[in-house]
């Protein structure tokens, strides 16, 4: 794992009661900012990251030295233009890039491991709300996020209905589906089946369940792409060989690609964090929080919504995104919706998909003019 000394953090002193019943306090929340907060403090955007993201959305991640996960969309002159907007992005609690998570030390000085409390999307959002106080921002201009980030957008608006002028939930759902719970469980079981996992207490024994975590990542990675995208990029192409080798090496490029994705992932991500964050996603059911009526989650908000889905996303397909639109329409809220054409699957929101990038840019620019 990387050293994370140079990470910006706030320490949240105020006790936070978690959904599981436990209360945490004096815990760190790691964050990064992009752009400059203007004098009126009306240009702030809170970006929420997805399952394996972190606070380094743009530019170079100082920990991994790789490009930030949302570099296509966020940065100077980009769709979320940091020449204009002040963007805050925090590592979720439960994560492993400096925020309070299972790799942190408990009062006895040992890593929490699976003694860390189970957290929820609601807990993540409540923890991040402290950033508004920290930056003395009364009202955000927008909250934006894709996938699990989109779930946080929905929960944020529900919890703090008048704290953002606009909201862009992307490729997400208000209620995690059985298929998605199943896929997350596959990943968790893969980690737990690794002999080195040791019931979650691998860190104190200086072990890493990297095989299990890599397989979890490989399986998940497939779900972020589309069949068509995979076929076009890889087809049945062979990996640095002219013919099949009649063995179990990576004969096919797709195998090699997945193995590579798995191997680089274990260098930057903690296996227990993967368990905790996928669990938080599984537990997310905003509809249930409001007794089966999703509209009630948004009853008191004045935010202007823009919901975006992608044609080839089978993980958070259009109908699930549309359910959010329907719930908002049912109570006459301001909501726009577009399904973007893309073969790049769920990952479309992270990639260079011009229609998507233009839509976000235009929505933000025209909405910002209106509040001026």
């Amino acid at each position: 794992m990387y050293k994370i000394d140079k990470v910006k953090k706030i320490v949240i002193e105020k006790p936070l009661k978690l959904d599981c019943g436990r209360t945490i306090q004096d815990f760190p929340l790691a964050y990064e900012t992009y752009g400059t907060l203007n004098e009126k403090k009306d240009n702030a955007i809170l970006v929420f990251h997805a399952l394996t993201g972190d606070q380094y959305a743009s530019g170079t991640n100082p920990v991994t030295n790789k490009e930030g996960w949302w570099s296509y969309a966020l940065g100077p002159g980009k769709s979320i233009d940091t020449n204009k907007f002040f963007v805050i992005c925090a590592n979720v609690i439960g994560g492993c890039m400096g925020s309070y998570g299972p790799s942190h030390l408990d009062s006895a000085g040992k890593p929490f491991g699976t003694n860390f409390p189970v957290i929820t999307i609601n807990d993540m959002v409540n923890a991040q709300y402290n950033l508004l106080d920290f930056f003395k921002i009364d009202k955000l201009f927008s909250v934006i996020g894709g996938s699990m980030g989109g779930m946080q957008v929905l929960q944020f608006i529900s919890n703090f209905p008048n704290k953002s002028y606009s909201a862009i939930p992307i490729a997400c759902t208000a209620s995690h589906s059985a298929q998605n719970i199943a896929l997350n469980e596959l990943g968790r079981q893969s980690i737990m089946a690794d002999y080195n996992w040791e019931n979650g207490f691998y860190a104190e024994n200086k072990k890493v369940p990297d095989k299990g975590l890599a397989v979890a990542r490989m399986a998940a990675h497939i779900t972020y792409l589309s069949k068509k995208g995979l076929q076009e990029k890889f087809g049945r192409k062979l990996q640095e060989r002219d013919d099949l080798k009649f063995g179990f090496d990576a004969d096919f490029q797709i195998e090699s690609y997945l193995r590579y994705q798995g191997s680089v992932f274990v260098d930057r991500f903690d296996a227990n964090s993967y368990l905790y964050i996928t669990r938080a996603m599984d537990y997310f059911d905003l509809t249930k929080q409001f007794n089966g009526n999703l509209s009630k989650a948004f009853q008191n908000t004045t935010s202007k919504f823009f919901v975006i889905s992608f044609t080839s996303d089978w993980l958070y397909p259009t109908p699930e995104n549309r359910d959010i639109v329907i719930a908002l329409n049912a109570i006459g809220k301001d909501v726009g919706f577009v399904e973007i054409n893309s073969d790049k699957g769920h990952d479309s929101f992270l990639l260079n998909v011009p229609d998507f990038l233009n839509a976000v840019r235009n929505f933000l620019e025209t909405s910002y003019k209106k509040i001026k």
């Binding site: 301001d334 577009v338 839509a359 025209t366 003019k369």
Partner: protein
């Protein structure tokens, strides 16, 4: 802007709540939002058009009027606009019912198949009419249910839908386009 859109705008009330069904590239919505009310939304099926609407700062939902109007509550808009697309639906009657359910009033425009040019075209040339409002050939027209102004007025009368059209026979002969306010 199209003359039709000015005519439609004249029928709208200031600061009312408006839904433009099949709002296209948002030309009419933009005019409405700048001159009549900010409370205007669109429903549009074409992704390209939606991008144009977003660039204009308009609130648009991607969807198909034949199935996606059902998500809007009863009487949730003062006016629902449907401009020259009624004839292109598989089930225009269902769409009319939905317009009247969602809007207090609906503004519907139809290309008039009873216009004298259309009639002459068919009478003398013996081919399907092609005019400014009906530019397509029979094999590629999106129009499935063409009607005349008279047909539409008769329909509304039969269904007890309020509609106003004086000098019906005259209008039916000389108007290329019918613009109506209808309500339940």
């Amino acid at each position: 802007m199209k003359k039709e859109f000015f005519k439609i705008s004249e029928l709208l009330e200031k600061d009312s709540k408006i839904l433009d069904v099949g709002c296209g590239d948002g030309e009419l919505m933009k005019y409405i939002s700048e001159n009549i009310t900010e409370d205007v939304r669109g429903l549009e099926i074409s992704k390209d058009n939606i991008q144009k609407c977003i660039a204009k700062g308009l609130t648009v939902i991607e969807g198909d009027a034949e199935k996606d109007l059902q998500q809007f509550p009863d009487s949730s808009y003062d006016f629902v606009i449907l401009s020259q697309t009624l004839q292109a639906f598989l089930d225009p009657e269902k769409v009319i019912n939905e317009l009247l359910r969602v809007g207090r009033k609906a503004i519907v425009t139809i290309p008039n198949f009873g216009h004298w040019k259309v009639r002459l075209n068919l009478l003398f040339k013996g081919t399907m009419p092609i005019t400014e409002n009906l530019p397509n050939e029979w094999y590629n027209t999106p129009n499935l249910h063409m009607c005349t102004i008279k047909d539409f007025v008769n329909y509304c009368n039969r269904r007890k839908i309020k509609i106003d059209c004086a000098n019906l026979s005259y209008v039916n002969f000389f108007s290329e386009l019918g613009i109506f306010i209808i309500e339940k």
